[in-house]
């Protein structure tokens, strides 16, 4: 198959679209309720010593955040690629690394804040990429890449909303900034992005850091509910990585810097 000529998908797009619709329905039937239940369990299971405001308030808040959280972040961030645009990425809502995580957070809530900041950064990065791609600054954009970025961004938005929902339920402010440690790294990488392949490599870096951070936290988190939420997100970031590699024509899985497939995912890039 690999040696056959590439063909367009005119005759089969309908079938795939139908499958995608089914997947969307599955997502809303299974994924969203699972998220709500998982986060609700986390709220009830965490032993932070601070009573959550209420489960119902959180669930409403999480839903609203999932629906509009990304928009707030993007509006505030004015996403752009330094290498593809004259606008500066410094418009991001960042915070001094010394002031992060916010004071008053302890235990698993610290992890929730860091996780939200990582997800915010991913949302920003995909938004920036889509903006630059739409503006024609990255050359020809394969349709699968555009779909990937849009879908991955939506999922990261939901991840951020889930962690922020937890923070809110404990009376803490939602984290709307991007991770202060990683943001300068991403800004630097953005400055070098000139095409889709470069953007995909940057996305792989972000997804890898997120996945490995969640993986490392699995054995550090205290509450079972928090572990469950973290563990439900980590494999999804790994799936993003697999598809990115596939689109780039590389082995579609965890691998060494030399491209050697790995049976065990490392944590050397975890925050």
């Amino acid at each position: 198959m690999s040696k056959r000529s590439k063909e367009t998908f005119e005759g089969t797009e309908g079938e795939l679209l139908s499958m995608t619709k089914e997947l969307d329905e599955l997502h809303y039937d299974v994924g969203m309720p699972a998220m709500r239940q998982g986060v609700a369990n986390m709220i009830e299971g965490m032993k932070g010593g601070i009573a959550p405001t209420s489960r119902r308030t959180f669930l409403m808040g999480a839903g609203a955040a999932a629906a509009g959280g990304a928009a707030l972040l993007v509006v505030g961030a004015s996403p752009s690629l330094a290498g593809a645009s004259t606008r500066k990425v410094s418009a991001l809502r960042t915070v001094d690394a010394a002031a992060f995580p916010p004071a008053g957070l302890t235990g698993d809530l610290v992890v929730a804040a860091i996780a939200a900041s990582l997800e915010n950064l991913a949302v920003f990065a995909y938004s920036a990429g889509l903006t630059a791609a739409t503006a024609g600054k990255l050359g020809t954009v394969p349709p699968a890449v555009a779909t990937f970025a849009t879908t991955a961004k939506a999922q990261h938005t939901q991840h951020a909303a889930a962690w922020n929902g937890v923070l809110k339920s404990y009376g803490k402010a939602a984290v709307t900034v991007t991770n202060p440690t990683l943001t300068p790294v991403v800004e630097g990488a953005f400055a070098k992005v000139t095409d889709i392949a470069g953007l995909a490599e940057l996305a792989i870096m972000l997804e890898t850091i997120a996945a490995q951070t969640y993986q490392a936290e699995t054995s550090m988190l205290k509450s079972k509910a928090a572990i469950g939420l973290s563990s439900s997100i980590m494999p999804v970031e790994m799936q993003h990585i697999a598809i990115l590699y596939y689109v780039l024509g590389k082995y579609p899985g965890a691998q060494s810097s030399a491209g050697t497939p790995l049976a065990f995912n490392p944590t050397s890039m975890a925050l």
């Binding site: 690999s2 991840h159 563990s231 965890a254 050697t260 065990f264």
Partner: protein, 286 residues
């Protein structure tokens, strides 16, 4: 995976070296696991009884809701699989044994698949063949890692496949005998997809169930790998169903030729579910 089978073979060889390196810290951490286990209340009878009851309920619920397991023997399995004898082992040993049994089944399934002409024969796509080989090798390493953890806890290693899923696999494999190459390839992908998803969901759930940090870390290091296998298989399945097997390729230019929906079909859920996770002691050694 690569467009050049020889290059992938080299990668596979390098991978085996890499895995040995990667497993070193895991084995080192197993010493910690033993200490943690000895310090934990795993062997406390009350704890074991509670664990037993919890997972008996879980198993009953799973069997009641899952047609696959129903085909494997239905509720009659509850008494066998959730026997008190199995509950005498520590909970971490049981979930590790179950994990090993799932990996053993995955290895056997890929091994069988590779004997089929359209998966491992001359008529097969070399990329698909190599993917199956690499993936089978990874599952073998996962099984070894789970069994190493079991041994460090003085449990019995699990070299058998998960008993609840064996009939399902056997039935699926038997049905491939009369299938065309296209049908057979889809059947194999569908079966592999189901097994990979069960593995991923089980290990996600096990990160919560495991008592020792080392075991949690072990499950966490593998669950994402299985989820990636799921992603690849979802994409391959979609391309096969759409009649575009030529796009199952890592050759330059393939990414640009992929249809839009191929960019999202590999990750259908923002939060990975665990509703198909195998009951914790389903594959425990009795």
């Amino acid at each position: 995976m690569t467009a050049d089978p020889r290059a992938l073979a080299e990668l596979l060889e390098e991978s085996q070296d890499m895995q040995a390196d990667a497993l070193r810290p895991t084995h080192a951490a197993l010493d910690e696991l033993v200490e943690l286990s000895h310090a934990s209340p795993d062997d406390d009878p009350a704890s074991n009884l509670a664990f037993h009851e919890e997972h008996k309920r879980s198993l009953t619920s799973s069997l009641g809701a899952t047609s696959i397991l129903g085909a494997a023997g239905g509720l009659a399995l509850v008494g066998v699989l959730a026997s008190a004898a199995a509950a005498s082992s520590s909970s971490d040993v049981q979930i590790l044994q179950t994990a090993a049994s799932i990996e053993n089944l995955a290895v056997a399934t890929y091994k069988t698949a590779l004997t089929l002409p359209y998966i491992g024969g001359s008529a097969a796509d070399p990329v698909v063949t190599k993917f199956c080989q690499v993936t089978m090798g990874q599952h073998a390493q996962h099984a070894d890692a789970f069994n190493a953890a079991v041994k460090h806890l003085h449990g019995k290693v699990q070299h058998k496949p998960d008993p609840a899923f064996v009939p399902v696999v056997n039935k699926a494999v038997a049905s491939l005998g009369s299938a065309t190459a296209a049908q057979g390839a889809l059947g194999v992908v569908g079966l592999a997809l189901e097994l990979e998803n069960i593995a991923a969901e089980t290990y996600i759930h096990d990160t919560v169930l495991a008592k020792s940090k080392t075991n949690k870390a072990l499950f966490a290091s593998i669950m994402g790998i299985e989820a990636q296998h799921v992603s690849v298989l979802l994409a391959v399945q979609a391309l096969l169903k759409a009649g575009a097997p030529q796009l199952i390729s890592l050759a330059p230019g393939t990414g640009a030729a992929l249809p839009a929906v191929a960019g999202s079909i590999g990750f259908p859920n923002a939060f990975y579910p665990t509703s198909s996770a195998a009951p914790a002691k389903q594959g425990a050694v009795k």
